[in-house]
């Protein structure tokens, strides 16, 4: 922002006071209507029938079970996804092997696929009409319409989340530090924990936070594979839908308020992590050739 304080320079394009105020005004109004209002209305509707209805919704066994199921899903899916993200980033950025770019594209696929398509795809693997369905039936293993299905679907939709934060950063950091460490005799794990991890911790945490938010909020994919059994396979987002269609709007919004609070905390964490430098190193696409994050200045 070196030009901001200099009075001699002509104003930049779009800096005329009238235009500036007009544009800020329009953006603030539309932003408030489109982004802020939906957040506020959740709180208003949640308490529309008073504190007592709000508290009783949250104390309801079905709601509590939905919260429990959502937390359990996140506690299982997010760590597994994190390990995968680290492994993928290590393999892709520390080694050269044929098909690296293709692997990057495949990892990003879930990001562009409708959650409904993901859910349907899982039916054709683990459902009765799917690949493993008959086999699972014989051994009486329940994957669909049970917790494993919910976790698998959540892992599908969030598969790229950690990897896509780590890969550009680790690509930019190069391999020199790790190569020095191993040539000095450090083991692979030691190298990872003492050399790599300290350099990627904020980006890793950033990916984990975003991954967690998506797992807790996933609706489409989970609604296909969960079977919506009240008090059994309803996660919090599905529980919201159930209450809403049951004409218990206040209850639906009360449950939604929990997820809204998590969303706000996710954003606060995101901003805090960005101040630590996370989320900054970005390549426009994972599948395009890497460019150094800091362009060499002539």
């Amino acid at each position: 922002m070196s030009n901001a304080s200099s009075a001699r320079k002509p104003p930049r394009v779009g800096d005329q006071p009238l235009f500036r105020r007009l544009l800020i005004g329009i953006v603030l109004v539309v932003g408030a209507l489109l982004i802020l209002a939906p957040l506020i209305v959740i709180g208003v509707e949640a308490f529309s029938e008073g504190w007592r209805v709000y508290a009783s919704t949250l104390a309801d066994p079905d709601t509590r079970h939905a919260i429990f199921l959502t937390v359990v899903t996140a506690l299982i899916a997010v760590p597994i996804n994190t390990v995968f993200g680290i492994a993928a980033a290590w393999a892709i950025t520390k080694f050269d092997f044929p098909g690296r770019r293709f692997l990057l594209v495949v990892i990003e696929i879930p990001f562009s696929i409708s959650p409904i398509v993901a859910g349907v795809a899982y039916l054709f693997v683990y459902g009765l009409q799917g690949f493993f369905g008959p086999l699972l039936e014989v051994y009486d293993i329940k994957i669909l319409f049970a917790l494993p299905g919910i976790i698998l679907a959540s892992m599908f939709v969030t598969a790229p989340f950690v990897a896509r934060e780590l890969i550009p950063l680790m690509q930019a950091q190069g391999r020199d530090l790790e190569e020095s460490a191993t040539s000095l005799g450090a083991s692979g794990w030691r190298t990872f924990f003492s050399v790599t991890l300290p350099n990627i911790k904020w980006a890793l945490l950033y990916g984990v936070v975003l991954c967690n938010a998506r797992v807790m909020g996933e609706f489409g994919a989970v609604s296909v594979v969960s079977g919506n059994i009240r008090g059994q396979t309803n996660t919090l987002p599905l529980h919201i839908e159930l209450l809403y269609h049951d004409y218990q709007a206040a209850g639906a919004f009360a449950s939604a308020s929990i997820l809204a609070v998590i969303a706000v905390f996710t954003i606060i964490a995101k901003v805090a992590l960005e101040r630590q430098g996370a989320g900054r190193v970005r390549r426009p696409a994972l599948s395009t050739p890497a460019v150094p994050a800091v362009e060499p200045k002539p």
Binding site: P38, V41, F95, S114, I116, A256, I267, P284, T288, V291
Partner: protein
């Protein structure tokens, strides 16, 4: 090629391939195989049924409308957030990510509450005879909300990195602001804008949770394709569900290819300038 001394290739690549294979590739392959097992005649008759075609139409048209809105508003928002400093800009900047952080089902019920006839916005709009909830307009509003961050977040870094010298040169040549924006700034933003547009459009095509609450879900008019897949599943018509889902999947692959192409171009463009 330099000999690589780092350990862990087989472990990390093994974990990656196993996970990607099991979690991503296997299910998608299963879906494609299921859809392919239908045979061309049955497949075509399912995906070209009038109800399916109506669902494609409303999905694509709403996604186009939402993307057009986001193009204008997203660009304005990115511009304001990079060029102007005013009280609260950091808050606005953070709030741009809300549509990514807020679960789609939550967004769906809250937008419905706002735009229903007795809602804050719906009651005002109905005075003018505009109905949003339970009409295609509602689908568009939901898509606008969920895909808003894409354009802002792809254009913002390019605007931040824009060299002020380019504008100064154009100003010293006597260009008006509007001319400079049109002839100098906008062309530099175009690659990022296109990439953001394709991401935003792809997201709108696949969106489900935010839309089904506000859409009304009437076959032939306000039923999106993702919902039609869901309905076929509930009717235990797995073949139809597989066929229509495969249309969404193929569209997603095409959009992915387009996005990657545009982003590769955007990258070359920024690398050159």
């Amino acid at each position: 090629m330099r000999r690589n001394v780092l350990p862990g290739l087989s472990l990390s690549l093994g974990v990656t391939l196993f996970y990607v294979g099991l979690i991503v590739v296997l299910p998608l392959a299963a879906l494609i195989i299921k859809a392919a097992s239908l045979g061309p005649v049955d497949y075509w008759s399912i995906i070209s049924s009038s109800r399916a075609v109506a669902s494609y139409r409303v999905t694509v048209l709403s996604a186009l409308g939402a993307t057009a809105f986001n193009l204008v508003f997203g660009l304005a928002l990115a511009w304001v957030l990079t060029r102007y400093r005013f009280p609260g800009w950091r808050l606005i900047d953070a709030m741009v990510d809300l549509p990514f952080a807020l679960p789609t089902a939550v967004a769906g019920i809250s937008l419905t509450a706002l735009f229903a006839n007795n809602g804050w916005f719906g009651s005002v709009l109905s005075e003018f005879g505009i109905k949003v909830a339970y009409t295609p307009l509602g689908i568009m509003v939901a898509m606008c909300f969920t895909s808003l961050p894409f354009i802002v977040r792809t254009v913002q870094p390019v605007l931040e990195d824009l060299d002020p010298a380019l504008e100064e040169a154009a100003q010293s040549l006597g260009g008006s602001d509007w001319t400079i924006f049109r002839k100098v700034i906008f062309p530099l933003l175009t690659p990022a804008l296109l990439a953001g547009l394709s991401l935003s459009f792809a997201r709108s095509l696949g969106e489900f949770g935010a839309i089904i609450f506000i859409a009304g879900n009437q076959p032939m008019s306000t039923e999106i394709t993702a919902l039609l897949v869901f309905i076929r599943l509930e009717e235990y018509d797995y073949q139809a569900a597989a066929a229509i889902a495969s249309v969404l999947l193929i569209t997603a692959f095409v959009m992915l290819a387009v996005t990657n192409l545009l982003q590769a171009r955007a990258l070359r463009y920024t690398a050159r300038s």
